[in-house]
């Protein structure tokens, strides 16, 4: 087992990269701690598989270092890095039995047959493969094959980390759950570092203690599932995590100031928004630096009320607006309302028990409130902390 450090790592598939856009991995530093269960989450084409192949040594990075326990391994081929990898499509040795498949990595280094037997039986037992041990690998189902390829990593006691590259892609939906549970169990039992690449938020957050969200060749946030949901540090995380993703409102200054030069009214997508002193200052400060300033709030935290109440004195509420329901989606246990007012569109999640019915008529006017502690300020796509 080992701690895996990526230091000043960058990679381009072009020999002579001419700019940022040519890089599949932009310059990054990252540490995967020993024994952790990690996920690398991102949309297709974000560079996550490239990063995985750099760690396993199948790909040499254009620049930067890969360190295992502080030791540089850039020059080591995969077989000397003691890494195991499970691929998207199951890779098994067709003509061998399951037993021989599991024994293969051990026999390759001339392990005594006694030890091989003991390790294989232990791993087969924890993967529920004992009944299949004498079967030819080619005749297994896709999920059994995936377990075999995982098992080949687990039999080795010198393994540094197990890397998973979208391992559940070809598994039947009904069996995915069983395999997810098995993975979790295996991590608890063997306590080996595991890095799981996926584009699926459910798979990532179910498996991993900490998730690295990748976007456009960079890790934009590394945190627990809860942190990704509650405090996304990048607008992409806000969008990508959660269904539907976070609402973002573009902030701008409008109207004429006293000197006739600068507007002094804060607007969100054209709607004037009354903010507290601290938030106003933060937004104005950000707008002085760049035009790209957004306020973000998750649909789960947008509060809706039917009738007007006096929000002015409510210091729990940061801002409020009157909006119109454009349409609602009744999703059974909750509903998603799309709210609209001129150019501003927001989504709000309404739970069972809310005064508004799930099949609310389009055109209904509602009072929208934004709780202070749920607001996020995003400047050039990254989060700024605001002391309320």
């Amino acid at each position: 087992m080992a701690e895996i450090t990526l230091s000043q790592l960058a990679h381009s598939y072009q020999a002579q990269p001419s700019g940022e856009a040519d890089y599949a991995i932009r310059r990054m530093d990252h540490v995967w701690e020993e024994g952790g269960a990690y996920a690398l989450l991102g949309p297709s084409g974000c560079g996550k598989s490239t990063l995985l192949n750099i760690i396993s040594g199948l790909l040499a990075p254009s620049s930067g270092e890969v360190l295992f326990n502080g030791r540089r391994v850039n020059e080591l081929p995969p077989e000397e890095r003691n890494i195991a990898q499970v691929f998207q499509f199951p890779v098994v040795y067709d003509t061998m039995t399951v037993y021989d498949n599991l024994a293969f990595p051990l026999r390759n280094v001339k392990t005594p047959e006694e030890t091989v037997r003991q390790r294989v039986m232990e791993v087969a037992d924890s993967l529920d493969l004992v009944a299949q041990l004498d079967r030819k690998a080619r005749n297994l189902t896709a999920d059994e094959k995936q377990k075999v390829s995982m098992g080949r990593g687990l039999v080795r006691d010198d393994v540094t980390a197990i890397l998973f590259d979208e391992p559940l892609t070809v598994i039947d939906p009904q069996l995915k759950f069983k395999l997810r549970r098995k993975l979790k169990e295996i991590h608890q039992r063997f306590a080996v570092t595991m890095i799981y690449v996926t584009h699926d938020q459910l798979e990532a957050s179910t498996f991993a203690d900490r998730i690295a969200v990748m976007y456009d060749g960079q890790i934009v946030q590394f945190g627990t599932p809860q942190e990704l949901f509650e405090r996304p540090t990048h607008t992409f995380v806000g969008y990508f995590i959660g269904s539907p993703g976070m609402n973002f409102m573009s902030m701008a200054l409008q109207g004429e100031g006293a000197d006739g030069e600068e507007g002094d009214e804060l607007v969100a997508d054209g709607q004037s928004l009354v903010l507290s002193q601290a938030w106003q200052q933060a937004v104005r400060k950000a707008l002085a630096q760049t035009d790209n300033v957004k306020l973000g709030i998750r649909p789960e935290f947008v509060e809706l009320a039917v009738e007007m109440v006096d929000e002015e004195g409510d210091d729990r509420v940061e801002a409020f607006l009157t909006m119109v329901v454009e349409h609602s989606q009744d999703l059974g246990t909750y509903a998603i309302f799309t709210l609209q007012r001129d150019d501003l569109r927001l989504k709000a999640r309404v739970e069972e028990g809310h005064p508004l019915p799930f099949d609310v008529a389009p055109g209904t006017e509602v009072r929208v409130r934004f709780p202070a502690q749920r607001f996020g300020l995003y400047v050039d796509e990254y989060r700024w902390e605001v002391e309320a």
Partner: protein, 389 residues
Amino acid sequence: MRYALALCRGMDSTAGWTNAYMSLSLEAVSRVVANETHLDQISLTLDPGSFNVLLGRTLAGKTSLMRLMAGLDRPSSGRILMSGEDVTERGVRQRNVSMVYQQFINYPHQTVFDNIASPLKIARVPRDEIQARVHEVAKLLHIEHLLERMPLELSGGQQQRTAMARALVKDADLVLFDEPLVNLDYKLREEFREELGTLFASRDCIAVYATTEPAEALALGGHTAILHEGRLIQYGPTPEVYRQPMSLTAAEMFSEPPINVLDGYIRGREVTFDEDVHFPLDEALSALAEGHYRFGVRPSHLALERQAVDDLVLDVQVDLAEISGSETFLHVHNDKVSLVAHLAGVHSFAVDQQVSLYFPVHGLYAFDDSGATVHAPDASPSAGSRGGK
């Protein structure tokens, strides 16, 4: 809306047989292939302009049914009517239907424009009109900027948009979608689900959409038909089918995660689960006779904390906590049952951790031994509307 109508009329001259306001009826339709019953006595009427979801697991008969509707296969028995006219023996080329598949099927050597225009070219629509209609549809599907590109240069989502545009451009009477989103990332699925609803709101054709996912059926809205082992279990407006399943099977099929089922007895004035959980018969359940029932608990009704004094409690062991964005699906079991709780928020649990789950009596479904629903909880779409809208 006006434009779509105009297109439908425009097709009259070219496609020969079309009807701007078509309804589709299946009358006791069966399909048997090599002694295997794929579809069993299905009767169903789809209203003009309706959006219909076929919900069912793999091999439930969704694709078989769609192929009958399209005219790709003939039923072994029964009749298919379009606007009251018997079309059972009419082939796909005489029915004015279009279909979108799981795989992104486009002509690889033609541009996106030519791909979308292909059904119109076959129908010999004048070039000016092709231009206008392709651009119109491409705009609706947000691929107007990609018209000159080749399909294989596009992302999966864009390829599927192209396939959908081709299906929509010819203004078919019937548009069939066979699990079109399974091969896309979940973020793209989310976008499509929302768009499809609005896309069809302004059309007169009947849309039929097959899916295995209850969440997708809910998001798409419209009407839902639940298929199970070749039989039609229930058909109605989607939220209604969800809240008032007519049978345990319907409840199981239309619930993700699956509805929890507990064995129980009503004896005297008491309900007993698991031999050791007892509670007095509540007002709603009091109409039920004594005997054995299966009680359904929605995963979202299971909570980690007591919500009300009369909540029932089960002590269970954690199998796995699945986390998706803001939600946690907690899989648990005790020595008698396996349950799933759908919890709001992100919660972490260790495998095999002991927890207690609480659920309200008023949220229970009851099914008799034949599996028929004998009691469903308050069916209003939101608890709030109980107090009057």
